[in-house]
Symmetry: C2
Subunit: 263 residues, 2 copies
């Protein structure tokens, strides 16, 4: 199986990606983000996405109940069903699932975010977690019968509650439980850049040993992506490509080695 992570940026060429998926000769499992759809919907709703900064200095989204419901609408609702419809139009029998559906991706709830409020350290609990268990049985059932799973947020925790998480960690968890022949990350850049502001600095090849080094050099979303990739590779070696999702044929390009190839 080929594992394809489609980023949530607004400039990704979804019709091109879908056309490439329709042309694959092997089964695919798709994981997608929906950041742009989420932010646009939050904007239309006049809703502000709260972020918190922990005492250790990392800033993250506060996954309160309104945010989890926004994820249900933007990720599991609009973005997922739009993508499933595009795939169906190209003859790919896609089945869109959030982590809740059939408990396909279970998360371990985060213990809380340590923040400073009015001079005091407090533990802020929210509805977030990290992808851990995968219902491989359900994925096999679908894939073996010709369906293409299209996975997204929210995930489910051990008690059956919806939790927000990182889609890149979902990819890593999937690969740990059901090793993929290769993994492609389609992003809004020509690959992993040494200078995030200069698209000409895409790294063509990266070996496993260099990932940690790069991880410490970059920041934000790309650092988290590299951490997920490192975790995936620790579990089982595979070929991973970080490629441009904005070209005419993003997946074909990635499979032909354009982008950053990690192996």
């Amino acid at each position: 199986v080929i594992l394809i992570k489609i980023g949530g940026g607004m400039s990704l060429n979804l019709p091109g990606i879908v056309e490439d998926i329709a042309g694959l000769h092997e089964p695919a499992i798709i994981v997608h983000g929906a950041n742009a759809v989420r932010d646009e919907l939050a904007d239309r709703l006049g809703m502000e996405i709260q972020t918190v900064t922990s005492v250790s200095g990392t800033t993250s989204v506060l996954s309160d109940e309104p945010l989890v419901e926004l994820m249900m609408m933007a990720y599991a609702g609009l973005a997922n069903k739009r993508l499933v419809a595009l795939l169906q139009q190209r003859g790919v029998n896609a089945v869109g699932l959030s982590g809740l559906d059939g408990r396909v991706i279970t998360a371990r709830r985060n213990p809380g975010i340590r923040v400073r409020q009015a001079g005091k350290r407090i533990l802020l609990r929210d509805h977030s977690g990290r992808a851990e268990a995968v219902n491989v049985g359900l994925l096999d059932l679908l894939v073996d019968n010709g369906y293409t799973p299209v996975l997204t947020m929210p995930l489910v925790d051990e008690d059956g509650h919806a939790v927000n998480s990182e889609n890149d960690d979902v990819v890593a968890a999937l690969h740990r439980h059901k090793p993929a022949q290769q993994i492609v990350f389609l992003v809004e850049a020509p690959g992993l850049l040494t200078d995030p502001d200069d698209p000409a600095t895409a790294i063509p090849h990266l070996n496993r040993e260099k990932i940690l080094e790069q991880e410490q050099r970059v920041s934000g979303r790309m650092a988290r992506k590299l951490r997920s990739i490192r975790r995936a590779l620790e579990a089982s070696p595979t070929r991973i490509t970080i490629a441009d999702g904005r070209t005419a044929h993003p997946l074909t390009d990635a499979l032909e080695g354009r982008g950053t190839v990690i192996q």
Copy 2:
């Protein structure tokens, strides 16, 4: 299999319904509406749901693209994932699906609505259709492996596009293709009322022959529900109960015969 249609009204007792489903000894397939969630979201978005009146006098929602996207967010997104989470919390391994997913419910696109505009008759085409084909293979795959399908809008047309339809017609189509041992409709009334304004007028029993008579007596949503029920019964006889979804144990009450029993 028992087929359960959960209405989209805001006063339905979802936790009670979910508790009853968790106690069932036979597999269930659930179809749910989300009118209240949809209207609330439209309101928050400042979006007006357009209705059109055909030359024959029937008023219906105009399923333009913004409406179909609203359905994706409200039905397939928020309402579906909230219900799936409630079921998961009770140990029911629910899998939420729109008609698009695995082409589980295919609709035949409506040819258009004949309307009068500026004195002229025109044919208004929108993204609506009627449930027709059912992917019984996918439903069997899920049910036989212990999953509970939770179905909702939008449906998919022959070309893979999302279309809006009536959930009651989905129930009828499901029963035509995969006959149910019984069907329960959970609504915001104690059953089928002879006087829609008087809850004391619920009809305890109705035979097949009397449905058409009642259908002509009532109007709006209940008339459409009775038409769907008539169609379901034409395909295969079964026990159908229209029951109050607002009691402490709506499904248990329905299975014990409270509400309007049609057989």
